[in-house]
């Protein structure tokens, strides 16, 4: 984890630079900090304003939105909610997305750990070839197999179910790769040997020793797996047909084509409901997520 502290430490030690700076004045150095803070704040506002408009407009009536722009909230929140709910049940989409994403994350975490452990601590024929093959397949974009995947699901009779959205998560090459790198450096084989001498079975060693050691790495990967599954649009769009089974992203697309689209207030509210929980989650997890991104990119 390379986070803020590391950054701060590396740059908070200007020794005798004062004199160096003053002896060689350059125009760029005269930029006052205040201006930079103002520029950064403007950028932050620009970044946030689409969300702000969304939140404000979610409380305004259709007529009010059409008549002009304001950042003062209106009073039509309840009305908008009722209009939206009379056409689509957004909470069902929420529940569906949550079920799928949680199962995908669990499956991906557990089976990737299992596979990573298998690759890391056993010697068997074809191991290296299999690992290299897995790495090569990692480069293949998801859309390449889309049509075959659809046909396979049709043949297996699992279209319009969650199976094709959940089960494939048990084979996540990137997570396996990441966890293998991690466990090789954190778990010493002598620990496994010791457990074997104590009579522990191979699976018991995996569950009681390897999994706990891998947990930080599993957690890091789980964040990305969860976000990826939660935001996935094309797969559920192709696989699911029944509106009551739609995930949140697909439901959003459905919202656009429905009657709700005529009432902008309800539309904004629908979008806001899909966005706000993620914002709240981010509020609590932002440090962790940022650190995970930093760690993930440096490892490669």
């Amino acid at each position: 984890m390379i986070g803020k502290t590391a950054v701060d430490k590396s740059f908070s030690n200007p020794v005798q630079n004062k004199s160096v700076i003053e002896s060689k004045p350059k125009p760029k150095r005269s930029i006052p900090k205040l201006i930079l803070y103002i520029v950064l704040s403007v950028m932050a506002i620009v970044c946030f304003i689409p969300f702000l408009m969304m939140l404000v407009n979610a409380t305004r009536s259709n007529e009010a939105i059409l008549s002009g722009f304001t950042l003062i909230p209106g009073s039509s929140l309840v009305e908008n909610y009722q209009t939206m709910m009379s056409y689509i049940n957004i909470w069902a989409g929420f529940k569906n997305s949550l079920i799928i994403s949680v199962l995908v994350t669990l499956l991906s975490g557990y089976f990737s750990a299992l596979t990573a452990y298998g690759f890391a601590f056993y010697m068997f024929k074809g191991k290296n070839a299999m690992f290299v093959f897995m790495l090569v397949m990692m480069m293949v974009p998801g859309q390449l197999g889309l049509i075959g995947f659809y046909e396979l699901s049709k043949t297996l009779g699992i279209l319009d179910t969650y199976i094709p959205l959940i089960i494939p998560a048990a084979a996540s090459p990137f997570v396996v790769f990441f966890l293998r790198q991690y466990i090789i450096t954190t778990l010493h084989p002598s620990l496994i040997e010791a457990a074997r001498i104590d009579g522990a079975s191979e699976f018991k060693i995996f569950h009681t020793i390897a999994i706990p050691i891998m947990m930080p790495a599993i957690a890091t990967m789980s964040i990305f797996t969860f976000i990826g599954s939660w935001n996935n649009y094309i797969m559920p769009l192709v696989v699911l047909f029944s509106p009551e089974k739609f995930t949140l992203p697909v439901l959003m697309g459905f919202l656009k084509g429905s009657q709700v689209a005529q009432n902008l207030g309800s539309m904004y509210l629908g979008i806001a409901i899909s966005v706000v929980p993620i914002m709240i989650a981010f509020l609590f997890l932002s440090k962790y997520i940022v650190n995970s991104i930093s760690a993930g990119s440096i490892k490669e």
């Binding site: 932050a44 596979t115 390449l144 197999g145 075959g148 191979e202 697909v250 959003m252 914002m279 990119s297």
Partner: protein
């Protein structure tokens, strides 16, 4: 011991069974379909290379290819530019700006939001007459007439690029900052003592040492960009309006398969896209290794 090593197969078996069934087989099946005229039902007839011949002369696909590039290119230039400027500001020893964590979080936030929600949100915010963006810009006096964002090919593509920039520059900023934090402070101190100015320090020390990270951002961004689908699908009518300007390669693939039932041809489009991705990734990879050999590496 030999006995125990057999467990290796047991541990990796579930992965391989699922991987073969749900990843490898669909890829191979798609490859087979790309040589057929399969239409989603009935028998698939092998038609040889007909789909691939069609692909090379298909103006819609070529157009989709260039659209994807234009949209991605503008977005990437802005995104990496912003990320580097921000990294330069925040990594400056002399400036010691505060609030890194706060700004980083705000800039990164749009990246977490479901793209379909983003597409829907901007679809109505960018509306010509009733969209809040035009209304706000007019109220602030920045523009005098509403801009028809999503109905003109150029502004529509620009809108998608800007939305992508909005979504991704915070992410790139985090990755660049992670790279910067891995650079030894000794370099910066030496530069300070030698009297290097801000720009010299940044261009002569930070950028060269960041090259591997920048190439990493470029590859991941390019692979993601070539698969651009959600935004153009939901921002306008789902077939690339206005005037085919938002028709991207994956959108074309999706519509060919699931809208027009040309599964065989869509499979060829998928492989065309794959080959394009491979060529460009190989190109960038080569750049990465060529560069790395010439420089001392900082880990």
């Amino acid at each position: 011991m030999k006995n125990l090593n057999r467990y290796g197969y047991v541990f990796i078996a579930p992965f391989w069974i699922i991987f073969l069934v749900f990843s490898i087989y669909p890829v191979l099946l798609t490859f087979y379909y790309s040589f057929t005229n399969y239409s989603g039902s009935g028998e698939a007839q092998v038609v040889g290379l007909a789909n691939y011949k069609r692909l090379l002369t298909d103006t819609y696909f070529v157009e989709a290819f260039f659209n994807t590039w234009k949209i991605w290119g503008v977005n990437f230039a802005l995104q990496i530019g912003l990320a580097l400027i921000l990294a330069m500001i925040f990594s400056d020893m002399r400036m010691k700006l505060k609030g890194l964590a706060f700004f980083r979080s705000i800039f990164y936030l749009p990246n977490l939001i479901t793209i379909s929600s983003v597409a829907l949100l901007f679809g109505i915010l960018l509306d010509w007459q009733h969209g809040s963006l035009n209304m706000m810009l007019m109220k602030l006096g920045i523009i005098s007439d509403p801009i028809n964002w999503l109905n003109e090919p150029t502004t529509a593509q620009l809108s998608v690029s800007l939305i992508l920039t909005w979504m991704w520059f915070g992410h790139s900023f985090i990755v660049v900052m992670a790279g910067v934090s891995g650079i030894s402070k000794d370099y910066y101190e030496a530069a300070l003592i030698d009297g290097a100015n801000r720009w010299q320090t940044f261009s002569k020390i930070t950028i060269p040492l960041l090259k591997p990270i920048l190439l990493y951002i470029m590859i991941t961004s390019l692979i993601g960009g070539l698969q651009l689908f959600d935004l153009p699908m939901l921002l306008t009518d789902g077939i690339g309006s206005p005037d085919g300007s938002l028709n991207t390669m994956v959108l074309y693939l999706y519509n060919q398969a699931f809208k027009y039932n040309n599964y065989g041809y869509a499979a060829a489009v998928a492989y065309g896209l794959f080959v394009i991705t491979l060529i460009f990734s190989a190109f960038i990879f080569k750049g990465m290794y060529g560069k790395e050999r010439k420089q001392p590496r900082q880990v």
